[in-house]
Symmetry: C2
Amino acid sequence: MKNHEKPVEQKTPAPKFGDMPKEDFRRYGHELIDWIADYFENIEQFPVLAQIEPNWLKNNLPNSAPVTGEDFAKVLADVDKLILPSVTHWNHPNFHGLFSTSTSSVGIFGELLSAAFDMKAMLWRTSPASTELEEVVLDWLRQMMGLNEGLKGIIYDTASVSTLHAIAAAREGLNLSIREIGMSGRDDLPLLRVYTSEQAHSSVEKAVLLLGLGQKSLVKIATDEKFRMIPDKLREAIEEDKTNGYLPFCVVATVGTTSTTSIDPIPEIVPICEENAMWLHVDAAYAGSAAIVPELQSCLKGCERADSLVTNPHKWLFTPFDLSVLYCRHLDLLKRAFSLVPEYLKTNETVTNQMDYGIQLGRRFRSLKLWFIMRYFGQKGMIERIREHCRLAKLLASWIEEAEDWEILAPVPFALVCFRACPQGVKDLDALNEKIMNEINASGEAYISHTKLNGKFTLRVSIGNIRVEERHIEKLWDLLNGKLKEISRKGAKNAKEE
Amino acid sequence: MKNHEKPVEQKTPAPKFGDMPKEDFRRYGHELIDWIADYFENIEQFPVLAQIEPNWLKNNLPNSAPVTGEDFAKVLADVDKLILPSVTHWNHPNFHGLFSTSTSSVGIFGELLSAAFDMKAMLWRTSPASTELEEVVLDWLRQMMGLNEGLKGIIYDTASVSTLHAIAAAREGLNLSIREIGMSGRDDLPLLRVYTSEQAHSSVEKAVLLLGLGQKSLVKIATDEKFRMIPDKLREAIEEDKTNGYLPFCVVATVGTTSTTSIDPIPEIVPICEENAMWLHVDAAYAGSAAIVPELQSCLKGCERADSLVTNPHKWLFTPFDLSVLYCRHLDLLKRAFSLVPEYLKTNETVTNQMDYGIQLGRRFRSLKLWFIMRYFGQKGMIERIREHCRLAKLLASWIEEAEDWEILAPVPFALVCFRACPQGVKDLDALNEKIMNEINASGEAYISHTKLNGKFTLRVSIGNIRVEERHIEKLWDLLNGKLKEISRKGAKNAKEE
């Protein structure tokens, strides 16, 4: 492997004290920018999924840190030699697994500058830029999504943490002194219940576990043929729980579920929550981005009456991971749930100190990258890209519908297609589709993932990469058909030989 | 303000679809690298604390996002015009408030490359590089800190989240079915109790609140004259609680408290935890970095028997925010507390999937920047820098001790000095010291913060910036003495005039 190493021009170890000399910062900085530019230019030449075996990287690294500093050129050479083969390329336009997410160039610039400032937004005074830009940018996004002014935004790292905070605020809103005396050692506290659909993201359950509510506190409501929560089932579950002396306090509905991007009927869920004085949290981590497109904005219908809503610009707004936004109508409850101000953080200013609104004391300057993105692409540019992804998804869905050997397994409201191969005469369709998926993924040509719908092994193709074009979807369709034919041919041959 | 705007060379709006054209990425990327190089070169010319009034930035930004995309040069011009004046410069070598933290150049490179890869480390297959490099780098750090092999590391964003996970794992270890049936609606669950010192970080209490344990569950143990938890008081509190039928399950001890960097006596706390089968979590968020210095490593004595320990490379290892490490002896309990694998995330690989170990599903590729830092500076380079900071702190402390008008208010085990002005004849020393602090901070020349020790308003000077030199400490000492004289002179004059 030694021969892969770039020739080291000159030895420039770190000085005794202080940072890297400034001329080296410039030189290596420019080199890295060019490296990244080349990387994006050549990204389609890489296998989408890393092709290494488990432990390959680990086994190729020393057992302990170098005693003396090394030339940074040597480190960069190891990025090529060791890191790059170990990377699964989320930015590859044929990454269609999970949700296809990707970063824009200006998003990277935002992270770069934010890392240079290295501020910790806890108090306003330690980071006025972050505190105020966050407020402005989240209000811009709120308007683009057509949400009403009552919803104030705050940035967390991930939707899991946003949802965790929403449920924590809902719990605080119960006024059961949980902040003061907690939930253990009490016999006056009924079983608290949270409701979500069978199709909800696992983050809801994780939040419930962390909050000490337990799996018994989470009720999973059945979904209809379109994978949407059934409001009547929700109402029934709440009624039954009340009869049992339980305390229903929160519903987490989803706009854009992970398996199929189905949309829970928020307008019908809202009155149920209102009648029962329950908190409604909407998980729009994925589809919130789609709501900036005028003809898709109706997916958030009813959310003007929700208590909170999470959306993830790092999913589908070309923002590097991480940036999740919680919009909340009751920031005061979040503050009541979390605010603790030790002496060393007391100040005299009457300003927003973001540390008061969550578990994390410090926050990164995350709004900067979203500001860069909104300004560089503009509302129109963002809308056009999301619209194009939805067009491509519908195009793929139309090919699937027309093909004899394939079928669509869920509606396509946004840019995710759920489907499977269903050639006549094949008994085990699950095995066939799993084989198609595994072989495509192993080839490195594309990455697709799966889910199970009504017991059927279902292929998922997500389209959301900023670099994706129609030709990538054509390539994927060819891959799918090619694999199906290849596997069918082998199957027929094997049957003949038997 | 328009005249501050840089001349725009050429109009390069975003294309209809796709990302920024690659030639623009190179051009603006190089421009940003040079901008950052200039920024670091000139950092001492900026006021440490932003000098803007609250809402200045907000009031200078439009009410909504631009409809059409803008030239990125215009955005960069606004960084100069609007963002820069709103930044509190954490990288300024005279930022001595809170904890002095700063990023190294190679740390920025790590963030830059990590943003370009934009991977989400949930499953091994979606990010082998992040999963494996994290394991390697955290083992390197563990060795440098002299911790034993039983402690396996995992990266979270902040110490607040690391400590939250530690207490959650401790709770899971009780085997009280809290994961399954939760804590509400039960009358069989005793009051769970967590113990920490009066000097512990607010994150411990925040974690207790979020976990649904409540403030009543948190016992704050008194500290001695050196601000260290008193083991006998801990033992008494546990005994008393057991007598009352409460369930003591976790102790959070601190090595390097936030107010004074005091060190709880871990070797004496360990047997108390062991006798009572309690989880010992050590908050070494600050001082863990110091433990890489051979002559300071004894600060972690006893931690070889702790159940978990948090340390923050983003505090004092020149790593851009965020990167917090939780070392834990029972990763299985963390997994038991959090693991939930929905169908769309099921894979056949027998590998570590990091999503199983915490509330967050995805993780940023944070180990990359720490790997860059360890390789570029080497163990020696890192040790020498931390050692130098401690030398500078001891130097400042020696000047304070020798001066008649100043006094040290806490021991200086690492690189934080707690002290105050105490000139003879001044009655209200609190007001005097607060005035000194506020005037220095308002001047923009340096930033110091405060705490309260034994009721006394105490100045805190933290030394941890990678760019800090002896001259910066001399400058601060001059500022302190200058302000004291100025205020005393004015006071005398006012008294005379009265």
